[in-house]
């Protein structure tokens, strides 16, 4: 029972002391290091447990920021408004020119799927992270949860949208590769099956780097650093 008819000063002093002890324990968490942007994936991608057996390799040394991948993506997926499934970022710190194409990393442990209140963000039978537009309410929860900022709101569809390695386009056109990979003039993007020793070996030889490995999402988009 809380008694409030005691002296205010005594009450405040006692309550502050008691809660201070509890707070101090909770507010000093174990020291966690700030996540690195780059790093080798801690997950072996030859694991048979992984659902999605395909991946994309981005060779940053070859990317000159021409934006053809963005154009191809918008054409193939008929995106006419603002927004894009691929965003090409330019380095901001003045340490020379550098470009970073970012698309949905098709994570093996996707945070966007966990946070979606209506299960619109989900994994299909092949393991791809896709968005069911009929279920999407446009709450932006997936956008906030995505560590790569790889989602955007498609104003025409009134739903969130993200790269799914051109699943619909490839089915429609019968092509093997996503549109961005086919259009890139400097072959900065490669697409392949992780069960293919050639592609898997290439990714392995390039260090199996992914964006923000500290988040533990196990992405399927790999980056070969420039230089």
């Amino acid at each position: 029972m809380i008694v409030l008819n005691c002296d205010r000063r005594r009450f405040l002093r006692a309550a502050a002391g008691a809660s201070g002890l509890v707070l101090l324990a909770g507010l000093f968490p174990p020291l966690a290091a700030a996540g690195e942007i780059w790093g080798g994936s801690p997950f072996p991608f030859d694991s048979r447990n992984s659902l999605l057996r395909e991946g994309l390799l981005v060779r940053l040394g070859r990317c000159d920021g021409c934006g053809r991948c963005v154009e191809a993506c918008r054409e193939a997926n008929t995106i006419s408004g603002s927004g894009s499934r691929i965003v090409v970022y330019r380095r901001q710190d003045g340490a020379g020119a550098g470009y970073l194409p970012v698309m949905c990393s098709q994570c093996e442990r996707p945070p966007c799927v966990d946070v979606c209140p209506t299960k619109a963000s989900m994994r299909d039978s092949s393991g791809r992270v896709v968005i069911d537009r009929k279920l999407c309410i446009g709450c932006y929860a997936c956008l906030m949860a995505c560590p790569y900022n790889a989602r955007y709101f498609n104003a025409e569809l009134r739903a969130m949208d993200a790269c799914d390695f051109c699943a619909d386009y490839r089915k429609r056109s019968g092509r093997r590769e996503p549109a961005c990979v086919a259009r890139c003039p400097r072959a900065a993007l490669s697409y392949g099956s992780l069960d293919d020793p050639g592609f898997a070996g290439l990714v392995e030889s390039m260090g199996r780097n992914v964006l923000r490995p500290d988040r533990g999402t196990d992405p399927r988009v790999f980056y070969a650093p420039a230089g």
Binding site: A15, G67, Y89, Q92, D114, K119, Y148, R151
Partner: protein
């Protein structure tokens, strides 16, 4: 050449912050309603009726804000029910808020029919749902910061203190305004309730100051902490003026001084302190979202595209929600005529 440097983000930051504050006010009011029925806190009894009404109206206003925030509010209603995701904080927040408002509606209905004992348990369930909703709100907002400033148990502690504070502050303002507008008189019980509320608010302000102090001290001393960059933005960066002036000075220190000096429990002065507290808490959420989204997720590769001021549409929609809130409280108070402390359940045997 089509190179994009901007960062994707939510445009209605002010409305999102308002939604969060309204959820906190609803949670706080539900907790006050439950507390006012606890024997040791009889002094809060005059706030009981308004806190029950407050939960319903605050939840309604938060629902309106959410409906304006999301693109398809009707789908939210339907698919929340038929396609639930039990891992989603937003799903739990909306569902538990619905349960909380439903319980308070039953409480409200029972209040007019002298329901008796069963009401206590309805209120208790409502308070538990309110706590759950508050935890999920804390998780949702802390998740929106990446890299996070508040993580683990920290946002839960911060939001529990903030929500209780918001609930007390909102009820002080509501009761003071209703006392002036409806009857123009203040009773002895109301003064006592204000006195108790002042003491609890002072304690909560102290807790809030301690949470800020300890967390920022911990982050500042460790440059490798993930929260260092958003904390720097708040403490010394472009958000620092608002943080120190509005959140700390106007939102914590000034109300604490006002409450300490208000020894005669003058409702007007207490309500002024409540206004300042709510203002500080509003900017706490607004700056929390801005600080989270202004720090790029991909380090030096992304630009900082967030504006520090809300857009026109954002502002108008927020004003619309506030108008709805004010109208709802005014109509509810006029309709129910709550200035009858003798009808409080504690005055009758359970």
């Amino acid at each position: 050449m089509q190179v994009i440097t901007a960062q994707n983000g939510v445009s209605s930051v002010l409305l999102f912050a308002l939604f969060s504050l309204l959820c906190s006010c609803a949670t706080g009011s539900a907790l006050v309603a439950a507390m006012s029925r606890t024997p040791g806190l009889r002094g809060l009894a005059p706030f009981f009726h308004r806190s029950v009404l407050g939960v319903m109206v605050f939840t309604g206003a938060a629902a309106l804000a959410l409906a304006l925030l999301v693109e398809e509010p009707w789908r939210l209603l339907v698919y929340n029910a038929i396609s639930p995701n039990l891992l989603s904080n937003l799903w739990w927040l909306t569902t538990l808020s619905g349960i909380m408002a439903g319980c308070m509606f039953l409480e409200f209905a029972a209040m007019h029919q002298n329901g008796g004992e069963s009401r206590f348990w309805i209120g208790f369930i409502g308070a538990v749902a309110a706590m759950g909703a508050n935890n999920n709100l804390a998780a949702l907002l802390s998740q929106s910061m990446d890299p996070p400033l508040w993580h683990g148990v920290q946002p839960l502690v911060l939001f529990l203190a903030s929500s209780l504070l918001a609930g007390f502050a909102a009820l002080l303002i509501f009761s003071w305004a209703a006392g002036c507008a409806v009857e123009g008189r203040r009773e002895r019980e109301f003064r006592q309730a204000v006195d108790v509320t002042q003491t609890v608010m002072l304690f909560l302000l102290l807790v809030l100051a301690m949470i800020y102090g300890v967390r920022f001290f911990a982050v500042w001393g460790n440059g490798a902490d993930p929260g260092f960059r958003p904390a720097k933005l708040l403490l010394t960066g472009k958000l620092s003026l608002r943080f120190w002036l509005v959140e700390v000075a106007a939102g914590i220190l000034l109300p604490a001084v006002l409450l300490l000096l208000n020894k005669k429990a003058r409702p007007g002065r207490a309500a002024l302190a409540g206004c300042l507290v709510l203002c500080g808490l509003m900017f706490q959420r607004y700056d929390m979202l801005l600080a989270g989204w202004s720090v790029p997720k991909l380090g030096e590769w992304q630009g900082q595209a967030m504006s520090l001021l809300p857009g026109g549409e954002d502002l108008l929609l927020s004003l619309l929600v506030l108008a709805f809130l004010g109208g709802g409280l005014w109509v509810g108070d006029r309709y129910c005529r709550f200035e009858r402390p003798s009808s409080h359940p504690l005055r009758k045997p359970f």
